[in-house]
Amino acid sequence: MIEYKNIHKEYQGVSVINNINFKINNGEFVVLIGPSGCGKTTTLKMLNRLIKIDSGEIYIDNKNIMEVDIENLRRNIGYVIQQIGLFPNMTIEENICVVPKLLKWDKDKCNNRVHELLSMVSMPYEQYAKKYPKELSGGQQQRIGVLRAIAAKPPIILMDEPFGALDPITRDILQDEVKDLQKKLNLTVIFVTHDMDEAIKLADTIIFMDKGDILQIASPEEMLRAPANEIISEFMGKRGNFLDAENMACSDLMRTPVFTIKDDKKTLECIEIMKKRQIDSLIVVDKAGIFQGVVTIESIRSKGKAGEKINSLISKDFPTVLQDDVGKTAFDLLMDKKYDYVIVLTRDNSVVGIITKSSLAKALASVVWGEM
């Protein structure tokens, strides 16, 4: 757990952080957001002591960070910056291994880790490990920037507008990857952005800052629904437009195309597919494309036999909506939090799309800020 207690910071007598307090749980994805110059970076960098705290304390797992050796502290906190900052004199492999090497991991362990990490982001070792940063695209570089940060398995990762300089498509992909990594590795992430779209997509909790104060700490949904004050709603766009979003149909909120499988597939095949796509459920349709249900990895694991067809494992107990249902239906189902997505069907029960939190956020954002 991370705890900021009465943190204060000033430059030349001008206060830039005014006695802020907040707590972050382990495994939580926290996004710091607010207008430029509001103190996000300062707040972030005080945690790995790149910026000195004037008064107040920060605790990590009840230990005051000022009592930890500064270099050790930093080696146990991953750090990703907007300018990427991969060392140009080192290969990709060497860059990823910087912190493991500082922690005196042996060669084999470092090497294994590089293989493991590169495969996580689908960048084959043989192709990329010996390259130099400038030989990669911006998106690939920042992917390595993220890997460098998590290489030594730190429990906490700090990211300061990591995708701010990337094009929108690459940004979107990297956001998904980071969110996946965070979930899979149960990382505690503090992420700075000034892009509300990004915050809604990634955050478990959003901390809204302005002029060195915290104005609201809330989940994305709550912040969308009930912004604490004018500044926040201003920042998120004109709230009046939000009402239109409630009149949207589910088909406006969904993501297409959607990946489905036929119901005569075998169990092992399904596990293979899930592994490859890194998902834990598959939508099943029959030969005519009619929705049959969902198979999950757990049901195959617990009840399935190798070589068996999946018919018997299909669960009908999964939220579905019709494509012209009002969007609010899908929203409520999703906020239930039990399911990662809602399946969208036509009147004759064929699958047309799914609605996820990020497709929802994107659709809402496009209402608030116009087509993106």
Binding site: L50, R74, Y79, I84, P88, L102, Y132, L158
Partner: protein
């Protein structure tokens, strides 16, 4: 030609060696001192902002002055030449080391700090490697200048290729001038090329410019 080599061959060979010896020793000494001072100055940027311009002023002193003054105080010994040339060799390397380190972009240093590197680790693993091409350019400048100023060793009777040029100029003997000038020129060009090559060798692929001239 035949005549020239039988008369001067031996002497020329010796002069080339002496010249090279002066250059090698002085540049080596200058390089070590300059590298250390440069690193030191980069640690105290506040003071260096004043110190570096002062050093630049000293750089306008021609090498002949160092040789001349040391000659008066130390006398007609090789040490005079070596000290003078070493001092002269320091400036370009020192300046380039300092500038090279200071110009390492802030994000790299911040990333290094964020990774948990100590000051010393940041210096050896990030700052110096990135500054290396600049430092080597300084070394090249120093070396080429030193070959040039070492010609003046002859002015105080301490040999080297300058002896031919010096004597040739004094006696209007064109053959002597050429005999000294050509090897000196070749030495400077070769050392320059050698350092260019070393520069290529030590610059990691990630720091090379794609379209280098």
């Amino acid at each position: 030609m035949q005549y020239f080599f039988s008369t001067y061959g031996q002497m020329l060979l010796k002069a080339v060696f002496t010249h090279f010896y002066y250059v090698l020793i002085s540049v080596s000494i200058g390089f070590c001192i300059a590298l250390l001072l440069g690193i030191l100055l980069s640690r105290i940027p506040k003071y260096s902002k004043i110190i570096i311009p002062i050093i630049s002023i000293f750089q306008t002193i021609p090498g002949i002055v160092f040789i001349g003054i040391l000659f008066i105080y130390i006398g007609m010994v090789p040490t005079t030449v070596i000290i003078a040339l070493s001092i002269y060799a320091i400036f370009p390397i020192l300046k380039n080391t300092y500038v090279g380190i200071c110009e390492v972009p802030e994000p790299y240093k911040e990333a290094a700090r964020g990774c948990g590197m100590s000051q010393f680790q940041i210096l050896t693993r990030v700052e110096l490697p990135i500054a290396l091409p600049t430092i080597i350019s300084g070394l090249r400048m120093s070396t080429v200048y030193t070959v040039s100023w070492a010609v003046l060793a002859a002015m105080i009777g301490l040999g080297g290729l300058g002896e031919f040029i010096y004597r040739g100029v004094g006696t209007n003997n064109n053959i002597l001038i050429i005999a000294g000038a050509i090897p000196a020129a070749i030495m400077a060009i070769c050392l320059g090329l050698l350092i260019d090559y070393v520069q290529k060798l030590v610059t990691p692929r990630g720091l090379r410019e794609e379209n280098s001239k």
